[in-house]
Symmetry: C2
Subunit: 439 residues, 2 copies
């Protein structure tokens, strides 16, 4: 364990990738190397009633790991061992600091994969994925982080260790504390280990890209894919603002093919037949579409999606929302976001996990400008309001963090929030775990 | 709402299908017709501090809905409306008394299905499925009840109504109260409505039955299927005791083909190719195997599994366990159960969801004999002990109920159980909801 109090160390852990900038710095950083370090830190924090902000790779998008004066940051990114992969059980046991993409690669050596694949997989850690119940591109077919977590090793606020869940894929002994802690954003306990479900790698993959005159046609095509009972593993929508940024960054001319695109992947036996069926469904809506089973060509088709966020980030500072709506409301949500952008004059690009109704409206401001106040934040709040009006949620996969907390009551209601605060008190009676975040 | 106090009505709701017989009868039965009935009952029960045992179809296997003197049974089986099916969102909204098979059939009219399929689907209700986090045959591929529940409408112990979850397939706003209530066996709140995820019906299905000289070879073949990265939707193991009962009941001669069988189903595009790959994997282990895409022939192959439990029930009274072990321990578990049967002289048949390591050791006693005491119960307890020693769990999908409660501490440990009791107190401070069950 290393305890650091110098300014540079504290600045490095003050916030995440949300764009939020706390006014002050945390008092200190503990770099934990093992479970004992975490136990010791929490015992000390309990004794001194000092708030602890647990931090993984710092890739969060809701300021869930931002910290300020009077708080200590518990950095578990150094606890990064893949403890065990048991191919016969299709299970991995990991420490929280393991990067998501590293686990996926290690599973790949056994013909397996780790399904949750947030766009941040190369830079985000499993612990952070668990804290926010991270999703990703493949979760339309394979579920989110919660669906992949079989059990957790926790350190409670008072330093006691508790194991939740099990080593088996099924089990109903006791309440589901595992699911309760997944998505709890560091407010209930510190995750020091996780038993994760792996899945067999699909034998075949096929990829399609389709372009459309407008984003409403693209959303309608996505809905038609779902209605046709097809089950892509990836079904992503990209709007004109994003396509223009990608073209500027890569010298491509995607925008000339239409004002919106869908990128679709099918996998498993029969992937090619399924992608061809997708092609037949999208054809009446599309200006053009193309499908391939060639991996190199597939990467080219995926570029419109994968290059989207980096391309937008190259044009300014961003705040990435992740509202979700019922799948049938996707077109309405996309049109509503465009109207908000037009009304407020704030630049908003939209990328969406269309397969599960999860949208990423990306508010883009000039480099150095603050995203989380003034007109950009008002536009972001109008998007929250839109999502709730469409029967949706504030956050599909990024978490509430600090930034969405004022909106939470509107979504959950008084009685539900009251239950949640009392559950928080069961786990953390002194209120020292990431106070002011999540609920 | 009807309040019944006559003896016949109270006898009809005193227990479930576990074999447990309470010494006394509950004081009364409330037959709820709508949410207001439930609210009124719980307000009255809170005011009078009277314990309430919520009951669906009464098909439980762990005495989770058994009730005794001093308790009132709240029967919600009459709240049986499918409120809405929204095909475009692949979502159903139902009341708790809807029978599982009825929901699946209604979804089928839209080309969709409801994935959880406990063997009791024709007689068990969604509310009970939620209470126990029911599994079934298809959950190896499609997950358990918890994976299908997007949101719940609850009535709390004090009569307040709270909604959990959402209408969207993804969402992380607030703690996951939905997953907490799923599997909580009526101890946290009364479920009066559920928003459920439906899935597209697979376009193709292929079925295989294979027979083996002994059950260890069958378990090894099941493990080999998993290791080969194949993903059957159904992967069931049936032992010799069960095959003999099926032969006696149906006049078949399955036992002559071997001392154990596997029944396998693959679905989706490429189902036939996948089942053929399954055949190649099991062939070295099997005495004989056969695959088909013909629906009538498929039903015949499935009969060894589907007819198993009714055939055993025709030979005596049964207690059905549902321990689960890591998938790689399946053969060891099956061998251990056989050893327990030999050592105790108690007849135990085994059917297993081999795809997820979930076993159903079925203790069979003479008609009218009590399963839950004496040597039969000692044998059942030896199976619990075996499962825990193999790194498994007491219950994969039936719940803890009354009967497995004494074993719970051994599985969960003191600190975890303490957390769970304190969570129970958050929801039900007076302790009136199904006391003595679950945790």
């Amino acid at each position: 364990m290393r305890l650091l109090e110098d300014r540079a160390a504290r600045e490095a852990v003050a916030t995440d990738r949300s764009g939020h900038r706390p006014d002050t710095l945390p008092d200190a950083v503990v770099r934990a190397r093992n479970v004992d370090d975490v136990v010791e830190t929490l015992r000390w924090a309990s004794a001194h009633r000092t708030p602890v902000v647990t931090r993984g790779a710092g890739s969060g998008l809701a300021a869930g790991s931002s910290a300020h004066a009077g708080q200590v940051v518990l950095d578990v990114s150094g606890m990064d061992r893949i403890v065990e992969i048991r191919p016969d059980d299709q299970v991995a046991v990991v420490e929280p600091g393991v990067l998501t993409a590293d686990l996926d690669a290690a599973a790949g050596e056994h013909g397996l994969f780790y399904a949750p694949d947030p766009a941040s997989a190369a830079i985000s850690s499993i612990g952070g994925n668990i804290a926010t119940n991270a999703g990703g591109l493949r979760c339309a077919k394979y579920g989110v982080t919660r669906d992949a977590v079989l059990g957790l090793d926790l350190v409670l606020a008072d330093g006691r260790r508790v194991a939740t869940g099990r080593q088996t894929v099924k089990g109903v002994a006791g309440y589901d504390l595992t699911s309760l802690v997944v998505g709890s954003e560091g407010t209930l306990a510190v995750v020091v280990g996780a038993t994760l479900r792996l899945r067999p790698k699909p034998l075949e993959t096929a990829t399609l890209a389709a372009h459309f005159d407008d984003v409403v046609a693209a959303a309608a095509a996505a809905a038609a894919i779902t209605s046709a009972r097809l089950q892509p593993s990836v079904l992503e929508l990209v709007d004109a603002v994003t396509l223009e940024a990608v073209d500027a960054a890569r010298g491509s001319s995607l925008r000339s093919l239409g004002a919106a695109a869908l990128v679709v992947q099918c996998d498993g036996r029969g992937a090619l037949a399924e992608i061809e069926a997708v092609g037949q469904v999208v054809a009446p809506f599309a200006t053009t579409w193309r499908a391939t089973t060639d991996p190199v060509e597939a990467e080219e088709l995926l570029a419109a999606r994968r290059a989207g966020l980096p391309a937008l980030e190259a044009t300014g500072d961003v705040f990435i929302e992740d509202v979700a709506v019922p799948r049938s409301k996707l077109a309405e949500a996309v049109a509503g976001i465009q109207a908000i952008s037009a009304r407020t004059g704030v630049r908003i690009a939209t990328i969406a996990h269309a397969g599960d109704g999860n949208l990423h409206p990306i508010v883009v401001v000039e480099r150095g400008a603050t995203v989380t106040e003034g007109p950009p934040w008002e536009a972001a709040c109008a998007v929250f309001d839109l999502a709730l009006r469409l029967g949706g949620t504030l956050t599909g996969e990024h978490g509430v963090g600090l930034l969405k907390r004022t909106w939470l009551r509107a979504e959950l209601g008084e009685d539900s929030l009251d239950l949640q605060h009392r559950i928080k008190a069961v786990f953390d009676p002194l209120g020292i775990l990431n106070p002011g975040k999540g609920i």
